[in-house]
């Protein structure tokens, strides 16, 4: 019941914003209502950390065995951190929207953000396969609607549809997991399922995140506002990331594990490189997602699924700090720095527990790849955090207070999850891995900064881009899977020709005779098989 109240409250608040804006004409009041609502939900979710048994059970949702016929949404050690991260993100988005209120007020974006967050909370709380399937579909349809609702260029329409198709394929992979479990005679719930069916869930998460196979439908993102765009881009992957935390340690057989690991590590590295060299944090956002998702998937494949959630949280919260960091000022840098510290993986920082999945002994080449990827991620974070942005001049005093508060809230939430997100979240972790990564990061930043490679002046960074751009273009072309789509289109046209031929045969002149001929053949086969 509480869960319905939470989600329903967000939706009602979203509707109320629009009504208030339309009837009272008060932008400020509408914004205030949005912020207060989000804050209340944030507090409620925070308090639920210490409540047990908070769940929504919809029994007999449809006929079938009890395991399948019940929809369950619940707060547990895996879902709570994600739910908390999402409401924190929402609060951060609404608070930082104060910078845009005077120039581009858009209560529709706030309502949209609340709606998407509500749907996102439903997806992360889903605790049964049916609940996962339904909530994933809901979020995907919302994303589709928002993307198509914006002015999307013709080429990007295809990308939007491809992205939706990939997500749908992920949902169907969950269906496949359910069916495979039935075949094995072990009906599936998310808390207990046959390990052989787990690979379908891994595939589902991978498809959803764009990691397995690696694909980037959006290298150029459809034009979206910073706030709503951030929510949308982070909520949808959260629904895939949360599944990783529920997988069993041996989700992939030893024969297949190296391949999955290779793909996910490659995704992590590629994403990290592109993130580092992206024009700005928004342009690099898809790569940020891919890279961290790749690391999370790698954790799950390596038998460390409990390490996967924090990578997902980092994606949302640390990423959220940077993506909403539109107005820049020297003293405000403390907030991204706080997020960066949380990302460092040093003992007792939020990401410390995640490093247990980054490197798994015995040490091998893929560990090196992942360490490099993580270092590049940190370097890129630093680079984007210190680059120039809009100025605080011209902003009202209250905005100059509220805006940093929004950013701070995100960073604080990141640390709170690290403190008490789940049992064992506050940990020393793999401190030596963290040290290696920090050392590499510092070295790269030093090179960039003091080698005059990167500075506030973009012209000086030109040679770096000249070096990486052609490489990036080739890699982007490979990982965007355009070549695969061309191949699929070719095969499609081939098969279409065969189908057309058969259609003309059966529907053209003489089709009746062809049908009867086929019937005669079938009957003769049947008779030769059945008669003694």
């Amino acid at each position: 019941m509480l869960i319905i109240v939470l989600i329903g409250f967000l939706l009602l608040a979203g509707a109320a914003i629009l009504i208030i804006y339309r009837t009272r004409g008060g932008m400020g009041v509408a914004w205030l209502v949005a912020v207060v609502s989000a804050f209340l939900v944030w507090v409620a979710v925070l308090v639920l950390r210490w409540q047990s048994g908070v769940s929504l059970n919809l029994q007999d949702w449809r006929p079938g065995g009890e395991e399948f016929s019940t929809l369950i949404f619940q707060f547990d050690s895996i879902s709570w951190p994600y739910a908390f991260a999402l409401v924190s993100l929402l609060l951060g988005v609404l608070l930082t929207a104060s910078t845009r209120i005077q120039q581009l007020p858009n209560p529709w974006a706030w309502t949209g953000s609340m709606g998407v967050t509500a749907a996102g909370i439903a997806t992360v709380l889903a605790a049964t396969p049916m609940a996962v399937i339904l909530s994933w579909t809901l979020v995907d349809l919302i994303e589709l609607g928002v993307l198509l609702g914006s002015r999307v260029q013709r080429l990007l329409t295809q990308r939007v549809v491809l992205s939706f198709s990939a997500r749908l394929a992920g949902t169907l992979a969950v269906v496949g997991a359910v069916l495979y479990s039935d075949y094995l005679g072990k009906p599936m719930t998310l808390s207990k399922f046959d390990e052989r069916a787990g690979i379908f869930l891994l595939l589902a998460a991978g498809l959803r995140l764009g990691v397995l196979p690696l694909h980037l439908p959006f290298v150029e993102e459809p034009p979206m506002r910073r706030g709503l765009g951030t929510v949308l881009r982070l909520v949808v992957p959260a629904s895939g990331l949360v599944i990783l935390g529920r997988l069993p340690p041996a989700v992939v057989s030893p024969q297949l594990a190296p391949y999955f690991l290779m793909f996910s590590s490659l995704a992590a590295l590629y994403g990290a490189v592109m993130w580092l060299t992206a024009k700005d944090e928004l342009a690099g956002r898809p790569y940020w997602l891919i890279s961290l998702a790749g690391i999370a998937v790698a954790c799950a494949v390596r038998g460390r699924p409990t390490a996967a959630p924090i990578w997902g949280i980092a994606t949302i919260l640390a990423g959220g700090v940077l993506f909403l960091y539109s107005v820049r000022q020297a003293r405000l840098f403390l907030i991204p720095a706080m997020a960066l510290l949380g990302l460092s993986g040093l003992p007792f920082t939020p990401l410390a527990s995640g490093l247990k999945g980054l490197v798994v002994l015995p040490f091998n080449a893929l560990d090196v790849v992942l360490i490099v990827a993580f270092s590049l991620l940190l370097t890129g974070f630093t680079r984007h955090a210190i680059s120039e942005g809009a100025s605080v001049e011209g902003l009202d005093r209250w905005v100059q207070v509220v805006y940093p508060l929004g950013l701070f809230w995100l960073a604080l939430s990141f640390w709170l999850i690290g403190l008490f997100g789940w049992q064992g979240s506050l940990t020393i972790g793999n401190w030596w891995v963290s040290l290696i990564c920090i050392t590499l990061t510092v070295g790269l930043v030093f090179l960039m900064r003091y080698g005059k490679l990167v500075s506030a002046d973009q012209e000086r960074a030109e040679w770096l881009f000249l070096l990486f751009k052609p490489v990036g273009r080739v890699l982007a072309a490979v990982f965007r899977l355009d070549w695969l789509y061309v191949l699929i289109a070719f095969v499609f046209r081939l098969v279409q020709g065969v189908v057309r031929f058969l259609t003309v045969l059966l529907e053209g002149e003489g089709g009746v005779l062809w049908a009867l001929l086929i019937l005669t053949l079938l009957i003769s086969i049947f008779y030769s098989g059945s008669l003694p």
Partner: protein
């Protein structure tokens, strides 16, 4: 009895001729005439297993169906060939009906294991079914399709008559035949009609 059996071959011969004519002829008048003669043969075959009064129902209904289809025809030239008999496809259709004969006469004895009917009835019904299906299969015009449909249905009715002699079924089948003929005539002229 022997004479009756020898005479029973006559409807089969009539059917051979009528099904051939229906298959190869492109002139609708000849087709309708063939249909008329066909129903005569059908009634004859049915009379071998049913009372003559019931068999006449088949004849009357058949002729009415033929009349309905004929009445819906227009004066348009068929196939653009100025009403000639030997138009393109003639040999193919002749060959096709020949294949149907072969199949019928070779399959009929094995069909007798399924239906306890005189051999001539089996020949006749199989011929009608085969020719009807062929006609439906190779033509796209409503007239020819419905002629084929009525022919095939007649074949089934002959076979059915050999196993079941219900008056009600006969009546309902008669209505079905007439309904088909009406439907056929409707489809033949529908594009020229104003809204009903």
């Amino acid at each position: 009895m022997i004479l009756q059996q020898q005479l029973a071959i006559i409807p089969v011969l009539i059917l051979l001729a009528t099904t051939t004519l229906i298959s190869v002829s492109r002139l609708w008048r000849y087709t309708v005439l063939a249909l008329v003669a066909q129903y005569l043969a059908v009634a004859w075959l049915v009379a071998m297993v049913w009372p003559i009064g019931l068999a006449v129902v088949k004849l009357v209904v058949g002729w009415m169906s033929s009349a309905i289809l004929g009445a819906a025809q227009t004066d348009r030239r068929e196939d653009g060939e100025n009403g000639r008999i030997f138009v393109k496809g003639f040999l193919f259709r002749l060959f096709a009906i020949g294949v149907v004969w072969l199949v019928v006469f070779s399959v009929a004895p094995s069909v007798s294991g399924w239906f306890a009917a005189p051999l001539q009835v089996l020949w006749g019904s199989s011929l009608l079914i085969g020719a009807g299906i062929l006609q439906m299969g190779i033509s796209g015009e409503p007239f020819r399709v419905f002629v084929g449909l009525l022919t095939a249905l007649a074949g089934f009715e002959v076979l059915y008559a050999a196993v079941e002699s219900s008056v009600l079924v006969a009546g309902l089948l008669a209505m079905a035949n007439l309904g088909l003929a009406l439907a056929g005539s409707y489809l033949m002229v529908v594009n020229t009609l104003e809204e009903l």
